[in-house]
């Protein structure tokens, strides 16, 4: 101990802090608590890695099977008409085409909304509100139990285990009576605090972050994360966000430990903080954002669509009557009929857009609200960030719904336009208009990821400031001494 302080007095504060940190690292890693938590965490990471890989593989299998079935179904459907004359309405209303959302690029890392929302849609309705093929609908019980993924593991269990590693970082020294002894030497409080923080953070990195890195590496090596620049970016950012998140909990643990009179009080305060911040706040905030900006209930919108259709049909019939009047009572056929139907579809879709535009605005406001309120809970920031990185956030799902919605309209308009250009044959699969999934396949948004990391670092800095201010006035003496 003497060497420790004499050397520290002649060196920079940072070196002294590093010395304290290395001591914390050594004693914790070799202690029973560090070993138990490491073993426990490795088991959890192995389970979550395996779970992520299984889910990813199952989703790809279902996607491939679905995509292969579309071409077969379309060919069967085409054959079912035999030599019947071609009618555009067959494609508009009777086609068997289904469009599939490919599994998110980082599905193995973070499940996000994957199991709650569907994976495919039949672009036949006038307005798509949701996808089908929801896993949750098939196994509500499975959904009730939740999904095991690396992001969820770090978000909840990782935070708790970080607390378990750091809750007595300072208070234990006080309880053992060694705290006052340290400061009998020329050691600044800030240096001591920094040393403790670095030490516990190093322990957290070795105990929790390194096994996590191993899990992500295994996922990459087994092909569950795309072997591309985009896949690598997502994996690296996932690890960085994990590091920033664990750093927040480390700082919070040291801060509370620097304020608490005893380790028992520290653990109670930190457990309460964890319950509120990691477990309750994300749920409350997400529900609050949804209730602040309620979208029209699906049943209510469904109720409006027949009326919108009826209004458009009135105009369509008027145009048909006008045509008949101008053509000696002849019913419109061929190109003329196609033009009238096209005008009807355009009017109907414009009416739907007018009604749904309100919901689109509300959804944007809700997203903004969620992102703003998320700053209140680092766990929610972490969950949002990892879901965005993995592509399992609501935005990708919504973008795909919009794309299918646009495609459904295309499948109604396209045959009519084709007829107008003089093509009057049943289309083959290759002739169909291409499906444009739009933003559903967007690449990683680095700006958003770094913004989330920034928020977590700001929260870390605030916690560190609180720890420093509290420790400045911390009573070093043993209770009752």
């Amino acid at each position: 101990m003497t060497d420790f302080y004499t050397s520290a007095s002649s060196q920079a504060h940072l070196n002294l802090a590093i010395t304290i940190a290395s001591r914390v690292l050594k004693t914790t890693l070799t202690g029973w608590r560090g070993r138990l938590i490491t073993i426990f965490w490795i088991v959890l990471v192995a389970l979550a890695t395996w779970s992520g890989a299984t889910a990813c593989k199952a989703e790809w299998q279902a996607y491939d099977a679905g995509e292969a079935a579309v071409i077969v179904a379309f060919s069967d459907w085409r054959a079912a008409y035999g030599s019947d004359p071609w009618r555009p309405v067959d494609l508009a209303a009777e086609h068997p085409i289904v469009r599939h959302l490919p599994p998110a690029p980082g599905r193995a890392l973070a499940a996000g909304v994957s199991d709650a929302v569907g994976t495919w849609a039949a672009p036949a309705n006038y307005h798509q509100r949701e996808l089908e093929g929801r896993k949750g609908e098939l196994t509500p019980l499975g959904i009730l139990f939740g999904t095991l993924d690396l992001a969820g593991l770090v978000g909840v269990a990782g935070a708790l285990l970080t607390i378990a590693l750091g809750f007595d970082g300072i208070s234990a020294e006080k309880e053992r009576g060694t705290l006052a002894l340290h400061f009998a030497n020329p050691l600044g409080r800030g240096t001591f605090l920094l040393g403790k923080l670095l030490g516990v953070f190093a322990v957290v990195c070795c105990t929790l972050w390194l096994p996590l890195l191993l899990g992500v590496t295994v996922l990459g090596a087994t092909g569950n994360i795309a072997a591309s620049w985009d896949g690598l970016t997502r994996a690296v950012l996932f690890m960085l966000i994990g590091l920033a998140y664990l750093m927040f909990w480390t700082t919070a643990s040291i801060a509370v430990s620097a304020m608490a009179r005893s380790s028992a009080a520290s653990v109670v305060a930190l457990a309460s903080l964890w319950l509120v911040v990691a477990l309750a706040a994300p749920k409350v905030i997400a529900a609050e954002a949804a209730s602040r900006h309620p979208v029209t209930a699906s049943a209510l919108l469904e109720e409006k669509i027949p009326a919108l259709r009826a209004q458009s049909l009135v105009n369509y019939r008027k145009k048909v009557t006008a045509y008949k009047n101008g053509h000696h009572g002849a019913t419109p056929k061929g190109v003329d009929a196609a033009r009238l139907r096209l005008a009807y579809y355009d009017e109907f879709f414009a009416r739907i857009d007018h009604v749904t535009a309100i919901d689109k605005t509300i959804r944007v406001a809700r997203e903004h609200s969620l992102q703003t309120l998320a700053a209140l809970s680092p766990t929610l920031v972490y969950q949002l960030a990892t879901a965005e990185l993995a592509g399992t956030d609501g935005a990708r799902h919504r973008a795909f719904i919009d794309a299918v919605d646009a495609y459904a309209r295309e499948l109604r308009r396209w045959p009519e336009q084709r007829l107008i250009t003089g093509i009057d044959t049943r289309p083959t699969w290759n002739e169909l208009p291409p499906f444009n999934p739009g933003n559903a396949y967007a690449k990683t948004d680095l700006n958003r990821a770094f913004r989330h990391i920034g928020i977590l670092l700001v929260l870390c800095a605030l916690a560190m400031l609180a720890a420093w201010l509290a420790f400045l006035r911390y009573d070093l003496r043993l209770q009752g001494a």
Partner: protein
């Protein structure tokens, strides 16, 4: 009498302890949030169901006279009412569709999931009463039990106690019973306090009242009784797990750490792992090929139907027939086609239905490894927010649609050209399963929970016999 005194002293100590105050403060805070948000959640859904159903009914009644088959084309909205205890247990309701719309020629899929509109909120989960009890209070419960024996040992009072003629197992039983009762008293106080703070929302409109409106009040009370009974056993299980950690440890610190590790394993990890293990070697099948196959089959059958109708027309069998008969054939033809469509649907859905059954069996079996997964499953069952009630809704809605179409099409078959008696078609009314039946359905699971409790208790007794008192 001696053991009753131990029980009583433990109860008094548990209620006077600073931790009882912490339990009351934490539980009441979370209960207030859960009650308020549960009430709002159910209120929004219930109001949307009421308004959309009323509008749809109004539109049905306002139709002009038309041929019966034309009336059968009206899209009737069949909405699922909110579950009796939905404000307490959100369960799987958010990811299950809330309504379906009838179609004269095909069975349309149910729609309207909350998850579609708020997917992230759904993925994160809901802070409902079941979550407060199942996750938050279980942590407090296991911590409350973790110093039961080790605490006495550290204080040195354990040897003192057994210097008297006290039997170890009876003493332990009295202590666990006292601690459990004290904890449950604190939770009851917290719930009552939360109820007062939240203005009794959970009992008012959109809360249990909403459930009572859709089913008999006795049934709601029966379900509520089941939920409360289950919650009490569940918390007792966690206090006993805490006591078990204490009996297996010499120090409070190690008992507490073991209790927290067990809690993470059984509450945070096990239920999720169960779902993954259940899918091992049996991944979720692709659901879209079934939909596409049914769609193609519909076109084939319609062409077959058209051919049959043409043959009948050619033979003069449809002379003087009504609109539906001349386009879709007589009842006999329609029945053949409907039966073929139902067979095609069943064939296409079979792999998915089989997978679902296998999955349910596995989840039922594996779910028992964690009291939390068991608790959530039974709680959703009592609340009516599980898959079972949803399937009951789909069955009832499908039966209503069949009867609706059957009636209108038969009118046409009887040669009635115009239908205007719209009020005679009674609106769809979902019949809730009686609470007695729910109790019977859940009895095996509740018994499993009780067995779990008993096994942990026996484990405590066995270990405590050889516990070093020094």
């Amino acid at each position: 009498m001696r053991y009753f005194t131990i029980f009583w002293l433990e109860l008094l100590q548990a209620t006077r302890d600073v931790r009882a105050g912490l339990v009351i403060a934490v539980a009441s805070l979370f209960f207030v949030v859960a009650f308020t948000q549960g009430n709002e959640r159910v209120g929004v859904t219930a109001s949307a169901v009421a308004v959309s159903t009323a509008k749809n009914r109004q539109a049905w009644l306002a139709q002009p006279p038309q041929n019966p088959h034309g009336a059968a084309h009206f899209p009737v909205l069949l909405a699922k009412p909110t579950a009796p205890l939905a404000s307490l247990v959100a369960g799987a309701d958010g990811i299950l569709p809330g309504h379906l719309v009838t179609d004269a020629h095909r069975l349309l899929p149910a729609k309207g999931t909350s998850a579609a509109d708020a997917p992230f909120a759904q993925a994160i989960g809901t802070l409902d009463t079941a979550f407060v009890i199942g996750v938050i209070l279980s942590l407090l419960a296991v911590l409350a039990g973790s110093d039961l024996v080790a605490g006495e040992k550290e204080r040195g009072t354990l040897r003192l106690t057994f210097a008297n003629p006290v039997r170890r197992n009876r003493w332990l039983l009295a202590k666990i019973a006292g601690r459990t009762t004290g904890f449950l008293v604190a939770v009851t106080l917290a719930a009552s306090l939360a109820l007062m703070i939240a203005g009794g929302v959970v009992l008012g409109p959109s809360g249990l009242y909403e459930g009572m409106a859709s089913s008999a009040p006795n049934d709601v009370m029966g379900r509520l009784g089941g939920f409360l009974f289950l919650s009490a056993i569940y918390l007792a299980v966690w206090i006993t797990i805490g006591a078990a950690c204490s009996v297996f440890s010499a120090r409070v610190a190690s008992a507490t750490l073991a209790a927290v590790v067990l809690w993470i394993a059984l509450v945070v990890i096990a239920p999720r792992a169960v779902a993954t293990i259940a899918e091992l070697g049996d991944p979720i099948p692709a659901t879209s090929p079934a939909r596409m196959a049914i769609r193609v089959e519909e076109v084939r059958l319609r062409r077959q139907q058209e051919a049959m109708v043409e043959t009948l027309k050619a033979s003069g069998g449809l002379k003087g027939a009504g609109a539906i008969t001349t386009t879709e054939g007589p009842a006999a033809v329609r029945d053949i086609i409907d039966a073929a469509a139902a067979r095609a649907q069943a064939k296409a859905d079979a792999p998915i239905a089989n997978w679902r059954e296998r999955q349910l069996t596995k989840l039922d079996a594996f779910g028992c490894i964690s009291p939390t997964s068991l608790y959530f499953r039974i709680a959703a069952g009592f609340a009516g927010t599980d898959g079972q009630r949803h399937h009951e809704f789909l069955n009832q809605a499908s039966a209503w649609r069949s009867a609706f179409l059957e009636r209108l099409n038969r009118l046409e078959d009887r040669g009635i050209a115009e239908f205007s008696d719209y009020p005679s078609v009674a609106p769809f009314q979902f019949k809730e399963t009686a609470s007695q039946r729910i109790w019977i359905q859940q009895s095996a699971s509740v018994a499993t929970m009780l067995c779990m409790w008993l096994i942990i208790l026996l484990l405590c007794f066995f270990r405590f016999k050889h516990y070093d008192l020094r």
